[in-house]
Symmetry: C2
Subunit: 190 residues, 2 copies
DNA sequence: GTCTATATAGAGATAGAC
DNA sequence: GTCTATCTCTATATAGAC
């Protein structure tokens, strides 16, 4: 891996804390301890917590969408793409120390305490996920690899809610195995 | 409604804050403002935040299970009971100022920052929900009102994750309507 | 049970030297 | 860019009077 800049180290640390304990339990002191520089130096890179948050969200959003775009570019029918989509969420769980969830999901949970600018970005994340899911589900209907009653919209909302909920609950005593089992259950139902 | 004791008012206020903003964004000052007594008086009833948390969880757990038990006592087939089960979650959303989610779901999200005693109670809540769901799904299979592939366990985990995830995401720009639509989608798939 | 007052620690943030 | 030092505010929690 390429040597990360201090700025990136801070973003990495912040993203990890948010995923594990949430924004409101993360402090500049915590970041300072992990990154190895003083609090004031963190403030040099990100003057306020909202600044930091905006950049964490933006970066994560970008990386996540790149992954989804690569799924959409792959060969494969709708079902294969839906499986890949779920796999992206599983990787969120298995990467790192396995205690985290999706940092943006965590921020949605704490949304009432955030700057409106962050809220807007979080809603955009939701919207773009829905868009990709609609495409995948539509394709699956067309190529006959997916079968379901109801609308793409409703099933898309169901799938995204399920995956985010799973990430939350898995940390409460759950395991990657439980995550997989539940996703498999979804896949036998479509 | 019966006149609530100060103790109950504190628990009500705490539960509301947890559901809306989480434990880590809730302070004794906030509670003091809502209940109308001083911080020190809150400490008289609940010396530490963990004490308060334990009682909030215990009370909510009790009330929730009473509701589920009344569902299990009603007449009705498996499908009707599953609909009632989902309705209990919808009521969490529509009650009060509509910005909250399940306080225990929120605590699960913040689990890494909590006292181990609270964690144990949260896992118990999950376990008992799973137990009720297994019963409902089994009954639905027996009486022919529900049809699904896979196991009761996997579908139970899916349903609970979905409902908790929905409560989280609905607050991020969602509505009760979206909650209902998604639950309806679940119900046409079983 | 509720109050005032206080202790102690930590938060986010800024000024200015190097 | 990083540091020391400091400001201001808020957090949890306790002591002791009424």
């Amino acid at each position: 891996m390429s040597p990360a800049s201090t700025r990136d180290k801070i973003l990495d640390a912040a993203q990890g804390f948010i995923a594990r304990v949430g924004v409101n339990a993360m402090s500049y002191k915590h970041l300072s301890d992990v990154v190895g520089i003083r609090k004031a130096s963190i403030h040099h890179h990100f003057p306020t917590k909202t600044d930091l948050l905006l950049h964490v969200v933006q970066r994560y959003h970008g990386h996540f969408m790149l992954k989804l775009d690569s799924i959409m570019a792959d060969d494969g029918n709708g079902r294969a793409r839906l499986e890949s989509y779920c796999k992206v969420f599983e990787e969120v769980l298995t990467r790192g120390d396995c205690t985290g969830s999706c940092p943006l999901g965590m921020l949605v949970a704490e949304m009432q305490t955030l700057d409106p600018k962050v809220k807007v970005m979080l809603m955009q994340f939701y919207k773009e996920n829905q868009h990709r899911l609609h495409q995948i589900l539509e394709q699956g209907l067309q190529d006959g690899s997916l079968h379901f009653k109801g609308t793409r919209e409703a099933l898309g909302a169901l799938i995204f809610s399920l995956l985010q909920g799973l990430l939350f609950l898995t940390r409460g005593g759950g395991s990657v195995q439980m995550f997989r089992t539940t996703v498999d259950q979804l896949l036998v139902m479509v």
